[in-house]
Symmetry: C2
Subunit: 162 residues, 2 copies
């Protein structure tokens, strides 16, 4: 069930695919949750809280929406001596949202670069070739999202963080 907290039309009823997608990912914080999940490998509730500074009740709500929408899925994990907890992992559909994040990041780099210089690059995972995001006629020209990595550059404040 996709519920709508952003747009006037319930997301599942919108005829426009942009509008339906925003019904899932267009909420406050959701893009940043996806950024952490898709580009930095965050999976645990505490990972998201630590890096985003998001309020736990809002994080719970946004993660639930992403799970209900089929963008993320829950798994159970247990650390020594602790109760079982849930971790959150992008589904195949969720992984494809890297294209949206790439388009947002590229536009920011191109038109509103930070004063300290661009802090992250989008590259092929194996060859470290820089990538652009855009429209193509031939789908064979596309690099699969599985082969794309967002790499922190030295100007990134967490360049040396795990």
């Amino acid at each position: 069930m996709v519920t709508n907290r952003v747009l006037a039309t319930p997301a599942e009823d919108a005829f426009c695919s942009i509008e339906r997608t925003l019904g899932i990912v267009g909420e406050r914080w959701t893009f940043l949750i996806l950024r952490e999940a898709l580009t930095n490998g965050a999976t645990r509730f505490a990972d998201f809280v630590d890096v985003l500074g998001i309020a736990p009740n809002i994080l719970t709500a946004r993660l639930n929406t992403l799970v209900e929408s089929g963008v993320m899925e829950k798994q159970e994990y247990r650390e020594n001596g602790s109760r079982a907890r849930q971790s959150y992992h992008p589904t195949e559909a969720g992984k494809q949202l890297l294209v949206v994040l790439g388009a947002l990041g590229q536009w920011g780099d191109d038109y509103i670069p930070p004063k300290c210089g661009v802090t992250q690059s989008r590259e092929t995972t194996d060859g470290h070739q820089p990538l652009r995001v855009g429209f193509v006629e031939n789908p064979k020209d596309l690099v699969d999202v599985e082969d794309v990595t967002f790499v922190r550059l030295p100007s990134h404040p967490k360049y040396n963080a795990a």
Copy 2:
């Protein structure tokens, strides 16, 4: 001046390009205003109100943010017997946000298609070749946004509208 109404960090201070971009376009309604401007040629205040059903005070605020951010620019127009009014036109930077809209629309088509079928396609303007959005290694493989058209399909409720 980019002001921030979405994210915890002021948009102009965020080191992350995704976050800075969302500081401009990530607000409620803003994506849909851009959709109308970039894919349907809406330019006048009344165009946006009519098609989106957006409250005029919210529309004013969102258009002002887009103008202040360099995404849209104002022009003056005058109809017979009326006072001068402002129209709103995407800048070069604004036009490049079509890549973000394309990525959002493609994901919605791929993973949450509407019951009535997909309502809009992304095509080359001249040859009507279908387009995909994604990552490429060679920028020469990209189709310029000026050569991209979003085309309403028969399942679109406004298929025959101007």
